[in-house]
């Protein structure tokens, strides 16, 4: 059972007490608005924090500390959920009972996380310019490298075109020119602002007692000068019109990406039916798209749909020969129409339900899945526990799924292809 403790105004600790695992996990996220002005800053911040703190001033010193903590891991966490961008650090570490007698892991890990977050290496009162420049280069390279993964690239291009008027169109890592404009001063100013005003979400999975953990964490935030703000509620998709575009690149395989809108977000009660529709339609190996376009027509290896519930967007992506996009698009729309007309067999509905139920029932079996479910739920405004969610899945009918399908409108089509 999840336990929520309000440590201080705007600082929330969520705990999933569990002694089944051999490791523990703790993450800290500052919640920011997802916007062009901030995306690059929020992406760069954890990378610079991970370059060094007062007691471990470079990468190697950090790794040596983690090695001593039995190979503990600390990483940047950057998560987009609807109109919010959560930025921070997460760590996982071995439970002390597996350590040599008398050795500690938990307390030193907590201390180290605090040092990394709040006592970075400074020069002349701002972030170390060398670290900022180096991480700017890395971030710019990471942005450029998105081209390397053609499937992800094509999807991102489609979303960018579809969401011209929505925060969902802002790339998660920001744009190259925004990264280049950052200085050690501007990043440090942003950091101070983030510490002062951002809502803070902490998440813990492990065997420790939540109240005791709260008592250890509270003083860390009491030391900060805080003036927390409240972020505006999540909003549905802002539509500035769709488009149809083809881009040519030197690729062997074409990538067809289609974006649909729906008014149903995961804050609506119909969201469970929409999730089921997505599963019947194109998620997984028994979906209509997979069975028809891959298995029956042999037109592709990879085809799937995704439901972005925080916004009300459904995307379809397929890797296909470069000259059959028209044929594949037509078939995708035909399968959607079948869903809308209620042509959903009992087997299809049962398979979709079981796939979702299986996923929900195993949520609590991995520390990562636990953190993922509850941290995203808290940010997105989704209210259901995995148990309530499961009950709603069990109750849903084929008619509910068809009604969810009927809300879909084709919005944007993007095709990445090679020279034909």
């Amino acid at each position: 059972m999840i336990q929520t403790i309000h440590l201080l105004p705007g600082v929330t600790l969520r705990c999933f007490p569990d002694s089944r695992f051999k490791q523990e996990g703790l993450s800290l996220q500052f919640v920011r608005p997802m916007c062009k002005e901030e995306a690059a800053l929020n992406a760069l911040l954890p990378a610079v924090l991970l370059r060094g703190c007062e007691t471990a001033p470079d990468l190697r010193a950090i790794t040596l500390r983690l090695d001593d903590l039995y190979g503990a891991a600390v990483g940047a966490q950057l998560r987009r959920v609807g109109d919010y961008q959560a930025t921070g650090l997460s760590c996982s570490f071995m439970r002390e009972e597996y350590a040599l007698p008398g050795e500690q892991v938990f307390a030193p890990m907590l201390r180290f996380l605090e040092e990394l977050l709040f006592r970075p290496v400074l020069e002349n009162g701002v972030f170390c310019p060398e670290y900022v420049e180096s991480e700017k280069r890395n971030l710019t390279a990471a942005i450029a490298a998105q081209r390397n993964d053609k499937r992800a690239y094509a999807n991102a291009q489609m979303i960018k075109r579809m969401c011209k008027g929505d925060s969902f169109g802002v790339p998660r890592l920001g744009e190259k020119e925004d990264v280049e404009a950052i200085t050690p001063e501007s990043l440090y100013t942003h950091y101070r602002k983030v510490l002062r005003e951002s809502p803070v979400n902490l998440f813990y999975v492990g065997a420790a007692d939540p109240e005791k953990l709260a008592d250890l964490l509270r003083p860390i935030f009491e030391k900060l000068e805080r003036d927390p703000i409240t972020l505006p509620d999540q909003t549905a998709f802002h539509d500035l019109g769709g488009c149809r575009e083809t881009e040519v690149m030197d690729v062997a395989q074409g990538k067809l990406c289609m974006g649909f809108t729906t008014p149903v977000t995961l804050r609506d009660k119909d969201f469970v039916a929409m999730q089921l529709f997505n599963t019947v339609f194109g998620s997984g190996m028994v979906s209509k798209l997979f069975m028809k376009i891959r298995e029956e027509m042999s037109l592709c290896y990879d085809i799937h749909s995704s439901y972005h519930g925080s916004k009300g967007i459904v995307t379809v992506s397929a890797g296909i020969d470069c000259n059959i996009d028209g044929k594949v698009e037509e078939e995708i729309l035909r399968q959607l129409k079948a869903c809308q007309e209620g042509q959903i067999t009992e087997t299809e509905l049962k398979a979709a339900k079981e796939a979702l139920l299986n996923q929900l029932r195993s949520t609590h079996d991995s520390p990562g899945a636990i953190e993922g479910y509850y941290a995203v739920a808290a940010l997105s405004g989704m209210q259901l526990t995995p148990e309530d969610y499961s009950r709603a899945v069990e109750k849903a009918t084929a008619e509910d799924v068809a009604n969810a399908a009927k809300t879909l409108q084709l919005h944007t089509v993007y095709f990445l292809r090679g020279e034909v």
């Binding site: 490791q23 060398e130 299986n358």
Partner: protein, 425 residues
């Protein structure tokens, strides 16, 4: 059935060799809803030539992977659909030396297990269905051709290995898979999907005796033909070509560096060899190494850099890869650092720290059903009990690491593949 407790990792295993010859283990996970089940065969992309009951066979490249796709076919049935209605998601993968079929579920474990056992042991290939798969796998091959990471690795293997079949991609090529027929698939299935070549591994809260009964019911009647396949290749340790380059639509040059190492024997000596390779890689260019810090601060590598020791049946190598504007400088720095480590040695405190870190990560890894199940299978085929690994770490010394570096990280054994950004015309 043998029940064994491993105090160093806090795990229990149930183990059995069934009368049919099939070996199995169950790793109990009381208090967890999820059950994960792997049925694997000691057969992968590199096992193309073999002798069965005195007759020699030579199969086209990509056959193990093709077989993995086609095994899901059953006369008049939709196996994936049947799993789906039972609440399980089945999947499979083919590596160079193993093929695995698996499902995870929270309910109907018994029915799902039966279905897995049934379809993997039922070869059913028609001319029509085998021909149709060419389109799907052809698209999978194209997808990999556009993926710089897999292109880079395939290119390096092709250049580095003249003898070992790792020089051919797991999927084969569009030309090689065109030669695959129902008869080829039937022969390979008969040769390698036989009880004494397979392994069943379950992680979850299930009854081990019941798993054994269900498996034996399926495997008891299966033939165990006499099959021999090469498991060693006379691959020279020296590389002929030191660098190979191609161009793709990538943002920055990408490189993969390889150094040939000796193939690992089975059993504890092999695992010791693997740990030596892992720790030597960490000492040389891991995140705790001096070289990593230097290269990162000089901007020659970024967070994409990584590497380690990799072993496939009959071959092993030390490899490092990443994005860099100057791959040659990274390569030269790695060669120089290896020489320095060999000359100066690795200190005892550094060694103990790396050892502790590696062990801690292994223990944390046990929380993952997937990685634990995979390791139990892979180590089983290497004839080693995975949960005994902490004791092997204690047999390794700092001198083992420097001897490895001296032998392996040299220009003689090296090759580097580079993908350069396509020049804009």
């Amino acid at each position: 059935m043998e029940k064994k407790f491993y105090p160093q990792v806090g795990e229990t295993l149930y183990k059995a060799t069934l009368p049919s010859g099939l070996k199995m283990v169950v790793l109990p996970r009381p208090g967890f809803a999820k059950k994960l089940c792997y049925l694997v065969t000691d057969y992968g992309a590199i096992h193309r030539d073999f002798t069965m009951d005195g007759i020699e066979y030579s199969a086209p490249a990509g056959v193990a992977h093709y077989l993995e796709h086609k095994l899901f076919d059953m006369p008049g049935r939709d196996i994936t659909g049947e799993f789906a209605t039972l609440g399980a998601s089945p999947n499979a993968f083919t590596s160079y030396d193993m093929t695995a079929y698996y499902f995870s579920c929270t309910e109907n474990f018994r029915e799902n297990l039966n279905l897995l056992l049934e379809f993997v042991t039922t070869p059913y290939f028609t001319e029509e269905s085998v021909a149709k798969e060419q389109g799907i796998i052809g698209q999978e091959i194209d997808m990999n051709l556009d993926n710089p990471d897999s292109r880079l690795f395939d290119l390096l293997m092709e250049e580095m290995y003249g003898v070992h079949p790792i020089n051919t991609p797991i999927l084969g090529t569009r030309e090689s898979i065109a030669k695959i027929t129902p008869q080829v698939l039937t022969d390979c299935h008969r040769a390698f999907y036989k009880p004494d070549n397979m392994f069943l591994c379950v992680v979850g809260d299930v009854d081990p005796e019941e798993v054994a009964q269900l498996a034996e019911a399926r495997f008891a009647e299966l033939p165990n033909p006499v099959v021999t396949a090469p498991r060693e290749w006379a691959e020279p340790m020296e590389t002929t070509q030191k660098e190979v380059t191609t161009q793709m639509e990538v943002a920055m040059p990408m490189f993969q560096l390889g150094f040939k190492a000796e193939a690992l024997p089975n059993g504890i000596e092999g695992v010791k060899g693997e740990i030596i390779g892992d720790l030597a890689a960490e000492a040389l260019f891991g995140e705790s190494s001096q070289l990593y810090l230097k290269l990162y601060e000089e901007g020659l590598i970024d967070a994409s850099f990584g590497g380690g020791f990799e072993a496939v049946e009959g071959m092993a190598l030390l490899t490092a890869s990443g994005d860099s504007e100057n791959p040659q400088a990274v390569r030269d720095a790695i060669l120089a650092e290896a020489k320095r480590l060999v000359a100066e040695g690795i200190s005892e405190p550094d060694f103990l720290r790396m050892q502790r870190s590696a062990l801690g990560r292994r223990i944390r890894g046990l929380d993952s059903f997937e990685s634990t199940c995979f390791r139990l299978c892979a180590y089983h085929f290497s004839k080693f009990d995975y949960f005994e690994i902490p004791a092997v770490y204690r047999q390794v010394t700092p001198a083992d690491l420097t001897q490895f570096l001296q032998r392996v990280v040299t220009e003689d054994r090296m090759c580097m593949a580079v993908i350069a950004p396509k020049e804009v015309s």
